[in-house]
Amino acid sequence: MSDSVIAPKATSGQPQASRISEAVIRIAGNSQDGIQAIGGFLARLAGRSEQEVMTFMTIPSTISGGPSIFQVRIGSGEVLSPGDEADVLLAFYQHSYDEHVTSLKKGGIVLYDSDHVEPNPEREPNYRHLGIPISSRTVEAIGGTGKDKGKNIFALGLVAKMFDLNIPKLEKLVTERFTGKDQSITQNALNAFHAGYSFQLDSAWATFHFIEGQKQGSTQVVMNGNEALGFGLIAAGVRFGAGYPITPWSDIMELLRRELPKYGGSFIQCEDEIASISMALGASYAGRVAVTGSSGPGISLKTEALGWGIMAEMPLIIVDVQRGGPSTGMPTNVEQSDLNIACFGGHGDSPRVVVAPSNVEDCFYTAIEAVNIARKYSVPVIILSDQAIATRIEAFEQPDFEKVVQDISPDFSPVAEHKPYDLSAPDGVTRHLAPGTRIASGKYPVVTGLEHDELGHPTGSPKLHQDMTEKRRKKLQALGAELPVPKVFGPPEGQILLVGWGSTQGPIKEAVERARAAGEAMSSLHLKYINPLPQDLEKIFAGFRHVFVVEMNDGGLYGHGQLAMVLRGRYADPKIRGINKTDGLNWKVREVLEKARALAAGLDAGKA
């Protein structure tokens, strides 16, 4: 966190544009007002301007309407989290104002629609209030037919003015957004935008100018985590998928349904979650790793078939976009409470792979990696994403397409003989041949959920069950040995090591940066490979007095969250403790810091 919007004071007379390196803008309205669209425009603009960007939104789980926010943080340097507090609040309604004005930094700017919002006199000394009749001015600009539809674009114009944004680029974005629609819609949008941009400012306004981004020369793409994950699967070579609608996974299935046919592939919407994983397993069996996905409740339904995939040693990708649980829980909120079901859910001894992407860009590459692990180790791989990463927008450098896009077409070349579950295979890994492959020996394999011999035929042999169970486990131990040891962020020794996984990487890193700036010996470690774990973590833990596992899940009966329990079980190290919460919202940097400091202080006091 460096200089930000609140630092400059408005000067008298002609306002001067202050140069800033980052800003957090929170847009609060109702879900149907298109506030996501404004945020999306700002995020895209940042992406096209070599800036970093991260967004955060809340949407009600109701069908239409309800309060909703979109927060966008744009920075010329590294942006790790959507920001704890906003520099600017754009409030469309009284409830937006009342609910969110305190999310502003002290001295922050609240830009409100004076047609709907009556400012609170008690708040006025703390924040700079700027009322603009957004609704009526929009109606004026567009001509009144659309009521106040388009006020989001009007507000975008205001923001563009305030932050001296690149107008031609924004006009282009607005035009692109409405491409294919009636010309008059595009024109109305542009009219609203210009009306907002040219709204007569009074001298109380401060204006700002972003210093240039650091990513000069690179081409950035801007998308959310679900999009990155979906496209990553396509890049990985996945050409078949099956799923059932559930928030927040549905976006991925919709994307795959739309995109896969362009590549000769197909995505099928099934009658239920069980059919989805079954169909995907069928397609994997037929020769090419397929994908299914869901969120928590659906993952529960899939676990029997997952057991089959593990027993039959069938490569498969299962995406779990976690939300608040259990049961229907909090469908549009974030939680990291599916780690246990991902790692251990199911019957029997059923080792599988679990990986968790840590940011939007990582969603893209994790998808490719998951497919390659699934193929190499002939095993189902679960990608543990979550609602926060799924819906937040980030800009990242566009991939080297030619290099990352894989062809994993099945190979039907005939073979002399084949034993899928060969116990003497040098790497211990099963290799399936897709149906359609001729086997000259005339002995064909069966893939099965029954315990089986090397050809896949059922066996009741105690020795074979023991050997095959070991085989299924050992290949993942081999994978664990191959995984890269994660790097510590910050010095390798100190007082506190924060351990995180998945979407919390940004706020944890930012917490470490703040703590170190304040002279505290804090570092962090982020785990991407959850099951199996990479090696040598105990050596990293040895460098710290405290190891705190920061998770968005409950501390549980014994005071440790889900990853913390795994780590304690694995390393039997009592200094591993949990920092947990289940409010359905991302970690704020401040929350992480406060909890870590308090926990360490309590422990240190106890020991003293």
Binding site: K262, Y285, A286, I373
Partner: protein, 313 residues
């Protein structure tokens, strides 16, 4: 980060195996098609379905690698182990979606699913309706014995009212499912009924089902001599019953006539009840792919992805 950690070496084909031109390959013998000895009880009706499946493969000169046999769980569903060909033994009730995954991604294969009354109509009932509705190309043979055999005599969804099982000691009370009606109303495009005691008819029905372009369903009565002996005697002329074919006057494209035919009391009629040439899901998906591919013609996969990303800048 632009590369990924795990790279897979492509499988190197076994160079010793020269491809055999299709015309020079002989059909398979029964010996070549048979795998494990079936684990069914002696006298089980399922033996005859298996024998006729072999006969079908033999007769139609289908090669090992061109047929895929898929099953769920149950006595009937042990089927894939007994067939020397690619096969999968999946979980209870879910053979159809698994087979759909194979069918939809592999138009070159004959996909056969074998199931029982519990697997198809009870735990897998939802999939039965939806696979039929979607008209996914495959053949489903349900070996219906009116009882759960593998778990030793519990009531099945087709057990008649009054059947005394271990879970209905006083006789079954629930109205049984009528598989023919179920299939017709769900939208199956080929619905036929046969019985294990008439081998020629079984073969005839399986062959017609295989040749049907769509979801073809054959209910084959298959007596469980262990837990429901004599269940189908009324359909077996050797036991004093009668085996009557669907009348020649029956219009197989008439859904209502088919439904009416299915309403007859046991033993009812045998043959093709209903047949419709509705387009398959397979064809529908292929059309979508063809339409979309027309727009990406000549582009490599990475170029298509690049084009998508250009719109996300």
């Amino acid at each position: 980060m632009s590369t990924t950690l795990f790279q897979i070496a492509p499988r190197i084909p076994d160079l010793n195996i020269a491809p055999i031109p299709e015309g020079e390959r002989k059909g398979l013998t029964k010996k070549e098609i048979a795998a494990d000895h079936p684990t069914w009880c002696p006298g089980c009706g399922d033996f005859s379905v298996l024998a006729l499946y072999f006969k079908l493969i033999e007769k139609r000169k289908i090669h090992h690698e061109k047929v895929t046999t898929i099953a769920g769980i149950g006595c009937s569903s042990r089927f894939p182990y007994f067939v020397q060909a690619h096969g999968a033994h999946f979980i209870h009730g879910r053979a159809l979606p698994f087979a759909s995954g194979v069918s939809l991604s592999r138009p070159d294969l004959h996909v056969f699913a074998f199931s029982g009354d519990g697997d198809a109509f009870s735990i897998g009932g939802n999939h039965f309706s939806h696979t039929a509705r979607k008209n996914i190309k495959m053949t489903l043979v349900v070996m219906d014995n009116w009882v759960y055999g593998l778990t030793k005599k519990q009531t099945s969804p087709t057990s008649p009212i009054g059947f005394k099982s271990k879970t209905d000691q006083w006789g079954a009370k629930d109205r049984p499912i009528n598989p023919m009606k179920q299939a017709i109303s769900a939208g199956a495009t080929f619905v036929a009924r046969t019985t294990h005691t008439n081998p020629n008819h079984v073969l005839q029905m399986m062959e017609a089902a295989m040749d049907h372009d769509g979801f073809s369903f054959v209910e084959c009565l298959s007596e469980c001599i262990e837990f429901y002996e004599g269940s189908f005697d009324a359909s077996n002329p050797r036991k004093g019953g009668k085996f009557e074919l669907v009348p020649e006057t029956h219009d197989v494209t008439d859904e209502f006539a088919a439904y009416k035919l299915a309403s007859e009391d046991f033993p009812g009629k045998f043959g093709i009840f209903y047949k419709d040439n509705r387009p398959t899901k397979n064809a529908g998906e292929a059309q979508i792919v063809a339409d979309m591919r027309a727009k990406t013609q000549g582009m490599k996969d990475w170029q298509i992805l690049q084009k998508s990303f250009e719109r996300m800048r």
